[in-house]
């Protein structure tokens, strides 16, 4: 199976799982608003990483609910980030954002509902001890010590002057959930300590590479490739990896992070190939 075929298979698994998911939501607009954002076509990077990580450690039926929970958290974060009080975005992947369609109040609730549903999804796995462990990983990565904390730092200090401060903020805002995707997949598959530690290193470096590549694409990417308005960061005067390191420096950093991610997968042997390919293909978008 080629990389593209394997990716497409994982993508289909995530999308079918989400489409078939029976929301605990009462009927009406809230359920519709939640599904609008959750089922809107996306890369599904977090869900796919989770499934692939689980498979690299022997596989697990619990991986799909984990992947779905991750995509619910990601979808909620986009809804809230797009709100007028936050980034005030009206388009997301070429479609009107949630609050443009359903109004601000319903968008806030749709986000709240998706975040809560993510934990319901984990709790329905059918193995309470595993659900408890997964709840710990996801809540730490998504909360104020992770993604929400990074977003808050971003709001408070939109332009950290140095690379270390920016890197820390981005690691919280984006890296934590990417890393959690790998960790949840491995946890679902009951991976041993060595694989778990290797997976964490991979996840951290992949998260860093992801952010660097995103910043590079923002400078030179096209609207089509990104699904958002390119150059927006620069227009808003935000510091990015590119504005601090320069285009060449950011690219070199992305290459280093990708190499680190790839080499940290050693303990997985041949089973880690697809995860390595994910990292390499991400980098290939800019190099």
């Amino acid at each position: 199976m080629t990389y593209e075929e394997a990716w497409a298979r994982y993508l289909e698994t995530v999308n079918e799982g989400l489409a078939a998911y029976s929301f605990s939501a009462v009927g009406g607009t809230c359920r519709e608003a939640m599904r609008y954002s959750l089922l809107s076509p996306g890369k599904r990077l977090r869900g796919i990483l989770c499934l692939a990580a689980a498979e690299s450690a022997g596989g697990s039926e619990a991986a799909l609910p984990c992947a779905m929970a991750l995509e619910m958290v990601h979808a909620y974060s986009l809804i809230h980030d797009d709100l007028p009080a936050m980034d005030n975005d009206t388009l997301r992947r070429g479609k009107p954002t949630n609050h443009v369609v359903y109004g601000e109040a319903m968008a806030i609730l749709a986000g709240d509902g998706l975040l809560t549903e993510a934990f319901s999804c984990l709790a329905s796995i059918g193995d309470d001890a595993l659900a408890g462990k997964l709840t710990r990983v996801l809540s730490r990565a998504a909360g104020a010590g992770g993604m929400v904390g990074g977003q808050a730092l971003d709001i408070e200090n939109a332009s950290p002057g140095d690379w270390e401060a920016l890197r820390r903020m981005e690691a919280l805002k984006t890296g934590c959930l990417i890393c959690a995707a790998v960790e949840m997949g491995l946890t679902a598959a009951q991976a041993d300590k060595e694989l778990m530690e290797a997976g964490r290193q991979y996840g951290e470096n992949l998260g860093l590479a992801f952010q660097l590549i995103d910043d590079i694409l923002d400078v030179r990417g096209s609207r089509e490739a990104m699904g958002k308005t390119p150059g927006k960061d620069a227009q808003e005067g935000k510091t990015t990896a590119v504005s601090i390191l320069g285009l060449e420096g950011a690219l070199q950093a992305a290459q280093r992070a990708t190499e680190e991610a790839v080499s940290s997968l050693g303990p997985f042997g041949g089973r880690g190939v697809f995860l390595q390919e994910i990292a390499r293909h991400m980098l290939s978008r800019v190099s």
Copy 2:
């Protein structure tokens, strides 16, 4: 110990637990905004119900983290409900609301952070299987099939014309979390099926009585007693239990719900007395 002494003891336990809680939040304003609302003096009804329910079934060390998680969810819901896009309230219990102090963006994030932290709090209990069970109860009660769903119905249809529609909406919006408080306390204490079922009936009726009493107080209560502007519902043309059933009808319904709540506690024997007293004292505010 008198009822008031027992209440004060539980209240202190909840407040001390929350004050000592080590937030996973990164430093800065987000953590401050989360603590501002969480530690602002409140009745702590949900936390106290949880502790009392656990004690009525033999007690459990896991009850306090449950109580704290419930108060985190309650605090987040108030922050988001108060937002300009929602109820647009500037005062809550006599203090400026979260977004008035920290701005709208940070208030949204503080709410998101508290909701996520509630699950981190459960996941840190030290018994993963119990944490998984508790995650299931809390996420169902708080999500789009519970509290968030009720709030969404409230926004969509602010004035349901009949009592059954209003009652259903209020049961989701307020009743679910009150019921979950009892259920989580009993789950923490490993209560058997009979107690669990009795506790659920108690919780549902208490939730209903709570809402009826709140509506009655809104009509005739004082600002001091309520911590919010009385008569606001009527000013906004919202239907309430009182506008549909009349003051006397609402009072009778509250009395019936309270009696149901009290009598459903039979299986607890003498250990259920404090829970019964909670229901009776709630009613005594209006009768």
